[in-house]
Amino acid sequence: MPPLSPDALLPLKDLVFRILVVLGTGERHGWGIARSLTDAGGERVLPGHLYRTLDSMLDLALIDERDEPTDDTARPGARGAAPTRFFRLTAFGRKVAVAETTRLEALITRSRAAGFAKAKAR
């Protein structure tokens, strides 16, 4: 894929950005990403949706994956002998996440100026 400028991908699809945020704190395998997404209070994501999004993020070089050979340490979600694949952000992915965050921050600032912010709890 020819290198794109980060801004070319904005605005990001909701799930894509959420995955980038999750991976920002460290690499994860597929099930770990799903768990982190729901733990953060989001809606449950189903496998088809998740992996299709991950595949398209791979195509866009936002993330890359590596094989983790199975071993005996108990890993949540590891069942049977399927090799677990770990996903992590690429440098480009990081840049895109930063760009999207900047965009959203600008949006929030304008929204606050319009008086839409909830009153901050003391």
């Binding site: 597929g30 189903l46 088809g48 979600g77």
Partner: protein, 892 residues
């Protein structure tokens, strides 16, 4: 794991390379998600439904764009559809039949599944409804407590202070209120509603749309005159005025302040609830009232990660830690140590109707399968006619896959057309169902044609297209080029002719017949069960009796009760249309059951001292006549019994059976119910009144005559009037006379007693009716199938039959030959159906009354219905066979 295997099937929707790379991870993830919901079947079902959607949206959708160059695929599909439509124009009869069959099948099935979803699966309209549980108290082994399951306040308050497996717990009790409206024509209505502790609203997760709901501070004993109105009552009676909040309205002759309006659609505990007041536990004010024990229904919200077993265990432990008092045995019966039970609110709401609903869903799927089998047969028969065309296409170079796709498209077009027709039929059926819904099938009134229903219809159409179309499509693609182009006349193994196809058609017919017979047996069982139910001698005769519920204001004195009961019944008796009139505190199908405690000393009874409770009727003498109670021994009560030395009572057979010796009943004396009263003397025995319905257990009952100042245990007076003609004609008179005798009494519902009885059996009647309709439709479809296949067979063998006739075979023998062929198939199918029924009807046990699942009469009725229909279906083509004109045939 089963779930993993099932999910692997869903994965087939995804492209092959995605399956290869991600399949294992996706399956593992789904299994994790499903395991997290273990123990919550409804949430799991919803997860599966979402997974199917996920597979379609992210598996199939990209595929359609990805396989062949998109343009080519779309063009090919369009060509197939165009071709199908043009051949539809040419074979109108076939397409019409197939369309109607599909339409009926899909329509009926969609309606039934929608209804089942609305009643059984749709989550209750509360926050996180799977975590709401109903709690109640049982003494195992003791005779059943009449009415809804309840728990006592002492246990509940103790539990409330030590909640672990529950976050919240609260009491409620259904009741009716008398609301008086001021202003011109101010009328009085009886509104159904419930008393609730404030925790109930929190458990349900309800937010008011105006004002507030009840809070703890409202629950001050004796001063809790606050009320929450339902959205419906607010709109209908208060014109949705926002000023109503904070004003007072007159409820039960007391001013009560409206504190808030519930959100639209909120109706707890049932659809008819219009208002809510704080729960009135009189033992809060007076700890000695009724021994300090008061009952109510209870709801709780389970803590996260708690299970039903934990909740029940915790409650049982607390209940057993309470000091035992004799009042518990009186209220709940003496039995094994107390148990507290819990089940989800959903199970409580749908429990009674679930078995019947499931049977109906299975029944309707059977009808759909019969329809599919019919269309498959039609497609197979038609396939023969198109054989030349298909062989031609193969010769020109169409691949097998191409042919299969063409034939599948045909059945898809048919199924789509059928689906559209089906949606129309389902809409009509659902409207009818919603308007005919009654309280015995909960939540049915909310069913309608919406997104879910549409989704069901689409899904069914696809499944149906696949089932009906697959076999003919696969057969059609198996074309024998050389043989067919040679014009060989049958006996080619493969394609639409030949042995295999012949056997297949017969097999389908036999299967259809078997399925139809199974439905017939099911319908016969349900029908006989319903008949048994209404033929039960319920201890009273409802025919010609008008039942009137009246309510006294809270301020009424016992003298007022007495004056009203005797005054009204005397005035009624002067009317020429009235045969008998009586009044009492309970009548058949009244909601609550008044009980009283009593003792049977060992000497009088079965050799053991008994202290327990019994349902008590306080009645005027005319009551027995009005209901035609069956007097088994002795006599019923007279007016003179009201002022005798002893307190005269009449008991029922069940009372005698449980507490007395059969030969020592009349004249037996029992200690008085309360100190200071004369002892009780039994003067008669009557048959039990099946007060709660013909299928509920009978209770021991006691009748006492109403004195001039009777204590009824409630403020409801039920008046029963036996009329010479139509009981409804008396309604106006009753209301007038009641107003004359005592205008402060509110006259509520006045309907014939027969109607109450019919309402109580409306669920079994609904089930029996639906199953009969399914059976009739399936039988008709099977008969059409038999007729179709036989006619086709006759036309195929026209040459053969003509030759036989020319060679001298009798008409009769030809007819007989065809006839027997048809009967053989139906007989085989019928026998298979009976055998399958014998295995399967045990699943219907919980919805049958007085009829065993292997009831011989029902099993006999099914073939009895099948034989004439099958015979008719065979006779017509057989007669056509007999009419074959040899010369015409041979010239062809």
């Amino acid at each position: 794991m089963f779930a993993r295997a099932l999910y692997r099937i869903l994965l087939l929707a995804f492209p092959a390379d995605v399956r290869r790379r991600r399949g294992a991870a996706m399956a593992a993830m789904f299994v994790e998600q499903s395991t997290e919901l273990r123990g919550r079947p409804v949430a799991q079902a919803r997860l599966w439904v979402s997974a199917v959607g996920d597979a379609i949206a992210h598996g199939l959708a990209p595929r359609v764009r990805m396989t062949s160059p998109p343009r080519a695929l779309w063009d090919a599909l369009a060509a197939d559809v165009r071709y199908t439509l043009s051949s539809a124009r040419r074979s109108r009869g076939f397409f019409a039949t197939a369309l109607i069959t599909f339409g009926l099948g899909i329509g009926v099935t969609t309606a039934m599944m929608s209804a089942a979803y609305a009643v059984l699966l749709k989550p209750l309209p509360y926050v996180d409804p799977d975590r709401i549980v109903q709690l109640w108290r049982e003494h195992p082994g003791a005779p059943a407590v009449p009415g809804d399951p309840v728990i006592d306040n002492v246990t509940l308050y103790a539990w409330r202070d030590h909640l672990t497996s529950l976050d919240q717990i609260g009491l409620f009790g259904q009741r009716d209120y008398t609301v008086r409206f001021a202003g011109q024509g101010g009328d009085t209505i009886r509104a159904h509603g419930a008393e609730v502790s404030p925790a109930i609203f929190e458990i349900l997760g309800v937010q008011p749309q105006l004002g507030r709901l009840l809070v703890g501070a409202d629950d001050v004993p004796g001063h809790h005159d606050f009320v929450v109105l339902s959205d419906r009552l607010w709109r209908e009676r208060f014109s949705a005025s926002r000023e109503i909040v904070g004003q007072t309205i007159t409820v039960d002759d007391r001013p009560q302040r409206v504190v808030g309006i519930a959100p639209p659609g909120f109706a707890f505990p049932d659809g008819g609830a219009l208002m809510w007041t704080p729960f009135d536990d009189p033992t809060i004010l007076d700890k000695t009232a009724q021994g300090g024990i008061w009952n109510g229904s209870a709801l709780g919200r389970m803590a996260a990660h708690a299970t039903l077993a934990q909740v029940a265990g915790e409650g049982t432990a607390i209940a057993r830690a309470m000091p035992p008092t004799p009042e518990y045995d009186i209220l709940y019966g003496a039995g094994a140590p107390v148990e507290i039970r819990a089940r989800t609110l959903m199970a409580q709401t749908t429990g009674r109707v679930k078995p019947a609903m499931l049977v109906l869903v299975v029944g309707v799927i059977v009808v759909l399968l019969v329809g599919c089998a019919n269309v498959t047969n039609l497609l197979l028969a038609r396939g023969v006619a198109r054989e030349r065309e298909l062989t031609l296409r193969t010769a020109i170079g169409a691949s097998r896959g191409r042919l299969v796709r063409q034939l599948l498209t045909e059945s898809l077009v048919l199924a789509t057309g059928g689906g559209v027709l089906g949606v129309a039929i389902a809409t009509i059926l659902l409207k009818a169902a919603a308007s005919a819904a009654s309280l015995s099938v909960p939540r049915l009134s909310a069913v309608r044609m919406d997104g879910t229903t549409l989704g069901i219809a689409i899904g069914l159409s696809c499944v149906v297209a696949l089932i009906a179309g697959l076999v003919p499509a696969l057969r059609g693609a198996r074309v024998d080029l050389a043989g067919a182009l040679r014009g060989a006349d049958g006996a080619v193994a493969g394609g639409f002719r030949g042995q295999h196809a012949h056997v297949l058609r017969r097999l389908l017919l036999a299967a259809e017949t078997a399925l139809a017979v199974m439905l017939l047996v099911g319908a016969a069982l349900a029908g006989r069960s319903f008949l048994r139910l209404i033929q039960v001698d319920a201890g009273y005769t409802p025919a010609g009796v008008l039942s009137v519920r009246t309510f006294a204001p809270d301020s009424a004195t016992p003298e007022q009760y007495g004056a009203f009961m005797y005054g009204l019944t005397e005035r009624l008796r002067t009317d020429g249309r009235v045969v008998a009139a009586g009044a009492g505190n309970m009548m058949p199908f009244s909601l609550g059951t008044t009980v009283t405690q009593f003792q049977v000393p060992a000497a009088a009874g079965k050799g053991r001292d008994v202290l327990t409770r019994v349902a008590i009727y306080v009645v005027t003498p005319g009551y027995a006549e009005a209901l035609s109670l069956r007097v088994r021994a002795g006599r019923f009560l007279h007016a003179s019994d009201a002022s005798a030395g002893t307190s005269r009572i009449v008991v029922n057979d069940e009372f005698v059976r449980q507490y007395l010796m059969p030969d020592r009943v009349i004249g037996v004396q029992l200690p008085p119910r309360r100190a200071g009263l004369p002892p009780m003397e039994i003067v008669g025995v009557v048959a039990p009144q099946y007060k709660d319905g013909n299928d509920r257990p009978v209770l021991p009952e006691m009748y006492v005559i109403a004195s001039a100042a009777p204590r009824l245990g409630g403020n409801e007076i039920d008046v029963l009037i036996k009329s010479t003609g139509d009981p409804s004609a008396l309604v106006g008179t009753v209301r007038e006379l009641a107003r004359d005798v005592d205008p402060s009494m509110v006259v509520g519902e006045a309907i014939p007693l027969d109607r109450r009885l019919q309402d109580s059996v409306s669920q079994p009647r609904f089930a029996a009716g639906m199953l009969t309709m399914f059976a009739v439709v399936a039988l008709a479809l099977a008969a059409i199938g038999v007729y179709g296949v036989l006619s086709y067979s006759v036309s195929q063998r026209a040459r053969e039959l003509a030759i036989r006739a020319a060679l001298g075979a009798q008409r009769g023998r030809l007819v007989g030959m065809v006839f027997l062929e048809g009967l053989a198939v139906t007989a085989a199918g019928g026998a298979a159906g009976l055998a399958a029924s014998a295995l399967v009807t045990r699943l219907m046990t919980s919805m049958l009354f007085g009829v065993s699942p292997l009831d011989p009469v029902s099993f006999l009725l099914a073939p009895l219905a099948l034989v004439p229909v099958a015979a008719l279906a065979c006779v017509i083509p057989a007669a056509a066979a007999a009419r074959t004109n040899p010369s015409v045939m041979l010239r062809r």
